[in-house]
Amino acid sequence: MRSYVLKRILSAVAIMWAVATIVFFAMRLVPSDPAQVVLGNYATEDSLAAFRKETGLDRPLLSQYIDFMSQLARGDLGRSLITNQPINRQIWSLFPYTFNLAIASMLIGAIIGIPLGVWAAIRKNTVVDYLSRIVALAGFSFPAFYLGVLLLLVFSVKLGWFPILHQIKTGSLMEHIHKLILPAASLGIIQASYITRLTRSSMLEALNEDYVRTALAKGLRPSTVHFKHVLKNIMIPVITAIGLYTGTILGGAILTETVFNRPGLGKLLLGAISQRDYTLIQSGLMVFAFIVVAVNLIVDLTYSLFDPRVKYE
């Protein structure tokens, strides 16, 4: 067990290192010159050279890479190319917004998806089942950002229940939640379709198991069997999948934050891309990838908590 955990952590660290390396070199492949981006088109050769010297851009690639890695190992992401602000501070100030959005949408997805999937599996090939399959297929096809646009049109523009711009600076907890509902719903409803489908298929598979037949044969009520026995068993794949959807949710968050004009890591990254702030783009990409790797690691390691039968080789 301990060796498995250690191995898993080491491989996650190796992947993070590889991601950082790839991102570092990819950013150096960009055709445009960072010094030119910062100083503008009318900068003289001298000022460009001075800027390169100051930021270390004139040094050999390898020594830049070593510096970058040693900084990263100390948890320092460097400074923004354009604003010269520490990137760590920017990311930490925006992280809670994206985190809240991701958690809220996962919750919405699970609250809708799991019961609907269970229900559809129990009432297989009935109207409920077909309906759930249509919902799932529609959910797959609905781009999350378009769902966001529709929610914005109905609930903000038409009904006026929510603000159109979701800028949050200060405000009470209720205000934060109020502004979280629409963005989280637009991502969460899409998640729900994935979770419904997965719950349905895992449930269907589990219903054919011997222990279900035994439980029914000894006279337990079907609802007891479904909810106390089967549901407990299928929670592992379902929870794993919810964890693994983190990547999709983070990708969706970039779009959702744009639709609702909500602050967050996605908007930070997009802003960096439009300003060609390479150090910020580099850090933003790494942070996204690190979160995904970390969540995958946590999901893998918590298997044993959900299911004592899981054995580590």
């Binding site: 096809s141 950002f145 523009v157 779009l255 995958n296």
Partner: protein, 312 residues
């Protein structure tokens, strides 16, 4: 030469030579049609796709106005007899722009998937066939690529290459390569140990020949199913990138950049975001419907669960 071989090897071990006139190459297409006919959902999706292809091809004749033709006095119109779906901020006809928008959507959808298949499948085949250090490096690389959300990967690549339709094709194509590597690698690893491969090898077939003319035909089924589904994903990703302003650039209309303009003007006209999103969703849904049914047909687990239904 064949005769002497048959004396040495039992006939059933020899790779089958196609009978003259046998529809071996078209068998898959016939199967495809047969599968579609069984399933109403898939058939509906298929006809929608055919319809969209028609619209894309006939765009210049179908669109009532040019995609950048401005009627500035008629800006932000709702649907009316002259502009069926209304107009945008410059008074451009939304219907015409949506019709022209089928072109980048389908182009990016189809060609980016071809890029993914073209790069991913050979790599997957070779990794699964060679195993050893080649496979280890490839798998590690796939793991790294998959730790990026695919939209983020597409976003990164577009940032590196710059916007434009063909660069978007390349970016989305490369972003989906890891999935095809995985898809081709798995079955290859199990097929490479089967008897018919050993037999071909004994007949002197080289690695490349074994991988591409004996293993590839056996793994192509799942790849085609995946392709249908990933066309849907690619169209959605193109729209997402264009929505973020990084994909197809105005004035060329793409459903994604139309939705972006719609959101920017959401108070003036709800139609601008509504209609392009509808056609986008419909298109993605159509490809998903076909891909989903194909997958269900080939998935042994769902075949089992389908049986009672056919008996009724």
């Amino acid at each position: 030469m064949n005769n002497t071989l048959e004396k040495i090897f039992p006939v059933e071990l020899l790779p089958k030579t196609p009978q003259p006139g046998a529809p071996s190459k078209f068998l898959f297409l016939i199967n495809f049609w047969w599968i579609l006919k069984q399933d109403k959902t898939a058939l509906t999706g298929f006809f929608v796709i055919i319809g969209l292809l028609g619209v894309a091809l006939l765009a210049p004749w179908l669109a009532p106005y040019g995609f950048s033709e401005q009627h500035i006095v008629h800006s932000f119109k709702g649907p009316d007899p002259r502009f069926w779906l209304g107009t945008d901020e410059f008074g451009r006809d939304l219907l015409s722009r949506m019709i022209w928008g089928t072109r980048p959507a389908l182009l990016v959808g189809v060609f980016s998937v071809l890029v993914s298949i073209g790069i991913g499948v050979p790599i997957g085949l070779i990794a699964g066939f060679k195993l050893g250090w080649v496979d280890r490096i490839v798998s590690w690389f796939v793991d790294i690529m998959l730790s990026f959300p695919s939209l983020l990967l597409g976003l990164t690549l577009v940032t590196l290459m710059g916007p434009g339709v063909y660069k978007v094709v390349l970016a989305i194509g490369i972003a989906h390569v890891p999935q095809y590597i995985r898809l081709a690698r798995g079955p290859t690893m199990s097929i490479r140990n089967l008897d018919f491969i050993s037999a071909s090898r004994a007949l002197g077939a080289g690695d490349l020949r074994l991988a591409f003319s004996h293993i590839l035909p056996n793994v192509i089924g799942p790849i085609i199913i995946m392709a249908t589904l990933s066309i849907a994903g690619a169209i959605r990703m193109e729209a997402s990138l264009s929505f973020l302003g990084l994909g197809v650039q105005p004035p060329i209309p793409s459903w994604g950049n139309m939705i972006r303009e719609g959101v920017e003007n959401i108070l003036q006209s709800p139609w601008m975001a509504l209609f392009p999103g509808l056609i986008l969703t419909l298109t993605v849904l159509a490809f998903n419907m076909v891909g989903d049914s194909l997958r269900d047909m080939f998935d042994p687990r769902t075949i089992v669960s389908r049986k009672p239904k056919t008996k009724q």
